[in-house]
Symmetry: C2
Subunit: 248 residues, 2 copies
DNA sequence: ATCATAATTTGATCCTAGGCGAATTGTGGC
DNA sequence: GCCACAATTCGCCTAGGATCAAATTATGAT
């Protein structure tokens, strides 16, 4: 019997750590940083896009301030959070939308992993929530669909992003969005973001963030106790039906 | 000075572990499972979609068979890999495309984390590679674009997936893809999969897998030593130019 | 200047999780 | 039935990491 060639190749690949082993090890580092319960709690708390101080994060993580501090150091070293200092307060927030996106995608796995799809009708998070700094959940997906149906939003760059049509720009301007300013920001304008509860994309990026700001300002939605969940107000229902033809 | 209401709410949210703390903890578990270097190496090795035995995986991970065995148990418990037994061999493979997708999204973070975009011209993996069981890299994205330009592929369901047009079905049938059988499989037909090196979507799912099979069968691409990398053959260049008008 | 508060650093403790070798189980070939 | 091989389980060791209390640094208020 002859030794299978495949095994020899595998051994070689294992010993050869020059190719993309570096990339793999960073992935392991990042995953390990997320993979500590206290740190995961902090990260998910930050997924609403707000910045929080280390003592606040110590509370949500359920650890002492000193412990939280080392955790945050680790997260910062892995570039999952960033720090900005204001006087004696030090605010931590997610490093960027990409981090929120990766956390969402791990949620997809976690959600799909629990095989009980039957009675596990989740909670109010399914209806409407924030994803980093924009709308997600059933409401986020519904808005996304509605905007496309109205011809306000067009699919761009092979499905990974959207762009506003002329009509869409006018319509959003009428809602109070400063489209030109939003477009001028140094982040992607309107990328598609996969929704873990709906398994379909919703609107993210600068435009998604601007939209959430408007919705909050007009009190269409209000943050729930758990800051990621959003409650749709009576005003919101009325306005979205009248302005968008969307029944929620 | 009054205590900020936000802090009280945060403490409450921390104590209240009923809402989505369960989801967070599973995410932590999954991330921790990925976050061990040896396990990460195994997972990335499996990203080509092949099933491998525990001894093979022990080799690539650089650990003893017994150690590899407990690692694989852990990965199976977290539903990241699945096991199928054939006689005295026990083959492990990724649990599903969703796992590959999550690993890919962590790669995005790891890639973006290294701020040296200058001299870090990566390796042959950028040109063409397998992502779980379909084509990725520059070639994967180029094919995706070309199919859309040819009117073979249409964007579906708000950008998260594609579907074949009538012309596309005929064209792929001419290439040797059994479109009807592919469509009948119990997995998503043609979802968009985000490419970490190109930062744009490529074609995944059942159709993406079928396409890779054809490309391998027709020897348009051949697996490199590192099994995730693919080399484009002379035949492949000629055929893709002639049949698709794609210069690679 | 002095004090109070926010946050980190230090030091010490504890314990989980990774590691391997040896023994055990399971399967196929003879 | 017996042996060879794959794979897992067991026992033991070690190290890294999570934790907190106490001390230290930094900043703002009085």
């Amino acid at each position: 019997m002859i030794v299978e060639p495949g095994v020899a190749r595998l051994a070689e690949a294992g010993a050869d750590s020059g190719t993309d082993a570096a990339a793999e090890s960073t992935v392991a580092g990042i995953a390990a940083a997320i993979g500590e319960p206290a740190r995961a709690r902090m990260l998910f708390c930050l997924m609403d896009g707000q910045a929080r101080t280390s003592t606040e994060l110590a509370l949500v993580a359920g650890v002492s301030p000193s412990t939280a501090s080392v955790h945050l150091q680790r997260l910062k070293a892995e570039r999952l959070v960033k720090l900005f200092v204001q006087g004696k307060h030090r605010y931590y927030s997610l490093e960027g939308p990409a981090v929120a996106s990766a956390l969402e995608s791990l949620s997809v796995l976690a959600g799909g992993a629990g095989r009980k799809f039957t009675s596990s009708t989740p909670n109010r998070l399914r209806a409407a929530r924030t994803c980093y700094d924009h709308l997600a959940g059933a409401l986020g997906v519904a808005l996304n669909d509605r905007f496309q149906a109205l011809g306000w939003l067009a699919v761009e760059s092979a499905g990974a992003a959207y762009d506003l049509t002329v009509e869409g720009s006018q319509a959003l301007a009428a809602l109070g969005v400063d489209v030109a300013a939003t477009r001028g920001l140094r982040r992607r304008f309107a990328p598609a973001c996969l929704d873990w509860s709906e398994r379909r994309p919703h609107l993210g990026g600068a435009l998604g963030a601007a939209l959430l700001q408007i919705a909050l300002k007009k009190k269409w939605v209000t943050p729930d106790l758990d800051s990621r969940a959003l409650a749709i107000t009576a005003v919101g229902r009325r306005e979205m039906l009248a302005r968008l033809g969307l029944r929620v």
